[in-house]
Amino acid sequence: MLEVKNLLVRYGDITIVDNVSFSVEENQWMMLVGPNGAGKSTIVSAISQSVPYQGQVFFEGQDIAAWKPVHLAKNIGVLSQQHYVSYAFRVEDVVRLGRYAYGAGLFSAGDDAEDRRMVEEALEMTGVKPMRRQTVTTLSGGELQRVFLAQVFAQNPRLLILDEPTNHLDLVYQKQVFGLIRDWARQPGKAVLSVVHDLNLVKAYGSDAVLIHLGKCVAKGETAQVLSRRHLQDVYGMDVYQWMNDLLCQWRE
């Protein structure tokens, strides 16, 4: 579905992403893993065409650099880690914006039956339907993240890109959001690419992973293979397995 070839991103003289290549197939949940400053968020920014890059990003064999924004939005949806909403929009207004790409023509009349159906489904799936008339400025961080998840579900892309989607969420919301995304990714023709710091979540939800360090791809493949003791030792500079086991010991009853 998605193929990233020799991706290179530079800010001035500094190379942030250095010749990274990987691909994402249908129904895969690909995790981008690595320490802070590895270049993971920059990779997803480049794929979503938010930063200039060298190399190529193909979607179903087509180079997406030439795509119009609405075509890109119909195929690739992005959920950021945090949202700062300045104005008191209603929840359903924010979710409805997810349908922008489907009614963005010059003389478009706006919402049609399909748009309304998708919005209703997205509100339902994410559990924000009861708060549809509430303003987003009154919501907690977790509720707000679910509203934007509903927006991206209403957008109905084929590939969902997530940049640390549960970074500021408590455990209940983390479980909810990851569960929703896993169900979504199981639908035919869908796939997920996400940046996640928590290696437990990577192991639990990711089908595949790419390990990034200092802008370079260290390992890629099945999650268990990529998150090997040696790889993690090389990237994080510590025995991650030992530390994880120590942490888990605290929970034994």
Binding site: S48, Q49, S50, K68, P69, V70, H71, L72, A73, K74, G77, V78, S80, H83, Y84, V85, S86, Y87, A88, F89, R90, D93, V94, R96, L97, G98, Y100, A101, G103, A104, L106, G110, D111, T137, F148, Q151, V152, Q155
Partner: protein, 346 residues
């Protein structure tokens, strides 16, 4: 909040309600002044003028047809234009304090107009066309400079950065205006009269130009309500849902420049209308631009008509500048909104 139609926009009866309110205020503004003219006399005068018939009270007719009607129409159109610009800029920049005057765009337009007067820039066959064109061009260039600088300093375009750069830019531009005035020779009087800012001497040509600008600029802004909603939520979010961010931003900035340039070239700088009215409209109808822009359009016209009425009648027979009234109300509103936005409640 006002009751809305099934979709996101207003229903037809709401537009009828807005129109009745606007017509009512227009009527009052034509009737009230140094000489009170009864509604019947207004109708008689307008009807006779349209038919080209002589009327017994030629004095009242000349006041109504030649002075008050073009003035109130120019005031209403300027108010509508400045307010819709303010609403659009506040959405585009996700900043409740963005407005032609706070951003410094109006000052930029003033510089263009002053340069046009000082150097005698003219468009053949269109009196005042040179001033108008220069004001529009400088409004657009100012916006590019201000936003460019703001982006370089703070890519999130925070309220504080934008306002600070707007103030610095306005001061810089005003100093250039003063230099131009110093060397303007016999044109000083014309420039000073113009910079005082007033719509009292407006004529039908001004009304026509304002009308055309509002039809073009207003239509563009109203077309981009969904995009403005996306920008108001966040520029990244706008990009992710499929908005052509760069193109839409440029088109909106051009539309705003046209409107502010035309308003400034006709009535000088009328501060704070674009700040106060969208904020009041947002409190009434919410932040969705499908409702906010039409509400700002009507609200701006009514607000400036009432401000003009106050300016004319408060110290009768003396007349205040309309900018004095809007600045007085606007300064108080500015502090209130700034306080709210700092608390993140806007």
């Amino acid at each position: 909040m006002l009751k809305e139609a099934k979709g996101e926009g207003f229903s037809f009866p709401i537009y009828v309600l807005f129109s009745i309110a606007l017509l009512g205020v227009l009527w009052i503004c034509i009737a009230v002044g140094s000489v009170f003219i009864s509604p019947a006399d207004i109708l008689k005068a307008v009807w006779s003028s349209l038919r080209g018939l002589p009327v017994p009270d030629g004095f009242a007719q000349s006041i109504i047809v030649s002075i008050r009607i073009p003035r109130v129409l120019a005031v209403a159109l300027s108010g509508a234009a400045l307010s819709i610009c303010g609403a659009a800029m506040q959405g585009l920049l996700r900043n409740p304090l963005a407005d032609g005057s706070t951003l410094g765009v109006s000052s930029g337009a003033s510089l263009g107009a002053v340069l046009a007067i000082a150097f005698g820039v003219r468009l053949p066959g269109f009196a005042g066309g040179g001033v108008m064109l220069m004001a529009m061009t400088f409004a657009f260039l100012s916006m590019l400079v201000i936003l460019g600088l703001a982006y370089r300093l703070d890519c999130s375009l925070s309220t504080n950065t934008i306002i600070l750069i707007g103030i610095i830019f306005s001061m810089f531009v005003n100093s250039i205006v003063n230099v131009v005035v110093t060397f303007a020779g016999e044109k000083v009087k014309t420039i000073m009269f113009w910079t005082m800012g007033s719509l009292s001497g407006s004529n039908y040509q001004d009304v026509l130009v304002l009308c055309c600008a509002l039809l073009v600029g207003g239509a563009i802004l109203l077309h981009y309500t969904r995009e403005l909603n996306a920008f108001a939520i966040g520029e990244d979010n706008a990009r992710h849902v499929g908005v052509n961010v760069r193109q839409v931003k440029l088109v909106i900035m051009i539309a705003v420049s046209i409107l502010i340039g035309v308003c400034v070239s006709i009535g000088g700088t009328i501060a704070f209308v674009g700040l106060v009215v969208p904020h009041m409209a947002r409190m009434l109808v919410g932040p969705n631009h499908r409702r906010l822009l039409p509400a700002s359009l009507f609200g701006g016209a009514i607000f400036l008509l009432l401000a003009d009425l106050l300016a004319r009648t408060l110290l009768n027979p003396l007349e205040l500048s309309i900018g004095v009234v809007t600045s007085f109300v606007g300064a108080i509103a500015f502090v209130y909104i700034f306080n709210l936005s700092r608390k993140g409640k806007s």
